[in-house]
Structure formats: C-alpha cells, structure tokens
Symmetry: C2
Subunit: 156 residues, 2 copies
Amino acid sequence: MDIDRSFIERAITLATESVRSGGGPFGAVITRDDRLVAEAGNRVVLLKDPTAHAEVLAIRKAAKALGTHKLTGCVLYASCEPCPMCLAAIYWSGIRRVVYSSDRNDAAAAGFDDRDIYGEICMDQAERSVSFRQVHVQGAGEPFKLWNDMESKIVY
Amino acid sequence: MDIDRSFIERAITLATESVRSGGGPFGAVITRDDRLVAEAGNRVVLLKDPTAHAEVLAIRKAAKALGTHKLTGCVLYASCEPCPMCLAAIYWSGIRRVVYSSDRNDAAAAGFDDRDIYGEICMDQAERSVSFRQVHVQGAGEPFKLWNDMESKIVY
C-alpha cells in the first residue's frame, strides 16, 4: 500500500468538501509516523482571514495537538503545491517532507495567485508590485540586542 | 511629521515588549488612512504556533477588525523586513505598501532563518532541504473543477 497516496486522497477529499462548504479548493493533512495528526480545508473567506490556507490551518492544529511549535518528524500532504506563505510556514515548523498532487500551474488555471506570488517573492524589492520603504531609526536594533542577551529564550 | 517613522517606532516598541514578555524580537502595525487598525508582537513560542509571526497576527487582527479577508488600502509597518511567510500573507491580504526598519541580514545575525528561507523558496524543488514528492491521483482536479463551476463563490 502506498501510504502517501492514501493521505493525498484524503487531502483532495478535504479540498472538495471545502468548496462544498464555502471554502477554497484546497485541503491539507499532517501526519507523524504515518498517523493522522491534523487536517484542514481552506477557510479564507469563511473565517475572513487571508492566512487561513489549508496548510497553515493544519500546521496550527498539529502544533496545538502536539503541544509544541516544532513539528519535527511530521509530513505535510497537500491537495495542491503549497503557496510561498504555506511553504515558509512549513520551514518554520520544522516539517521536512511535503507530498502534493496538483501544482501552482493548476492553481493559476483556477484563478489563484500562488505562481505570481512565487515570482514576486523572488524579485528584488524595487521590482515588486508591492512597494517597500526601509526607514532607519535609532533603537531599531534594540529588540535583537535584548533577545541576544536573554539567557532563558526558547529559539524557534 | 514623518508618519512612517512614528508607526515604525511603534513596531519597534512592540518588538521590544514582545521579547520582555517571552516572544520573539519582532513587532508589526497595520494602518489605514494613517490610523491604527491592528498591532502585534511575535508569539510563536508563547502560543506554540509556528505561524504566529507579528505580521501574520497583525493581518489576522486587522481582517477581524475590518470584517473582511481583503486589507485593501492598508499599510503594514514591521520592525524587521517580513519573512517569506509574512510577505506572501501580505500579497494574499491585498496590502500594497510595506515599511520596515531592520532587514533579513539583521535577523540572520540574531539567529533567525528568514534569509535562508528566502533562498530555499526561490530554489528548484529538487535543490531544497525539504523533500518534495508529487503524487498524481485520479480526481486531483475535482476540487478546482467544482470551484470553477460554482457561481456563488467569493474569489480571494
């Protein structure tokens, strides 16, 4: 039995159910040791939360279920290739393996900006469609200095 | 008066307060028409949520405050250049202007992976440190087909 295939099928089922319940066409599943830890569908419009992608919600649920901000040893299954927000969330979470089915081109064909946002993020700031201004102020380094000096900090 | 400077100073104050209360050294403020809409400090470890960056929390709060998933016309002020997760969240939210003070190199000097994750996201999948597998299954396109056929959908 291909365990990847069965969890991907579950992610696609979640994506289909998501559309039926008013969400976007995406689903995600997180496992550890081939056992389900968390699953979610896209809820951007339903929750009025632009960050409520299936993968982000599944990561947040998995972290809650496991009681830690580090999802070491977990695998993420996504009905579609994660967008840059979700991919960076995967890196921050410590997940080291991703399995997916549709890709950013399939998402683009359905009207989603994933592929364009990959392009924007990898551009120089000056070329992006969002405008950026760096303001140098005195004390800008203070939070980092305080962080570095703190012995009790938990690194993430 | 430089309004950008005053909101950036607020973001840096939030970053400092965040460290003092057990969070990471980052703060973010969202405004519309130069008025405060939402603000947040980093809460990754405190909330046990790897996605709880200051910018993501501020975006979620602003969307809740404004009652919409689209933050059109809002400006995001960040004590440090947003990481790729936060930057992609900015694109999804419709925010078109970002002001920041410290940058990804300052974050790297304090031990944060922002710069490395930018590198990873812009690499081909095969070169990344996270492993990827695409699994083609029958019915993978079903969620997108259902989405495309749905006349009542709210595009995001």
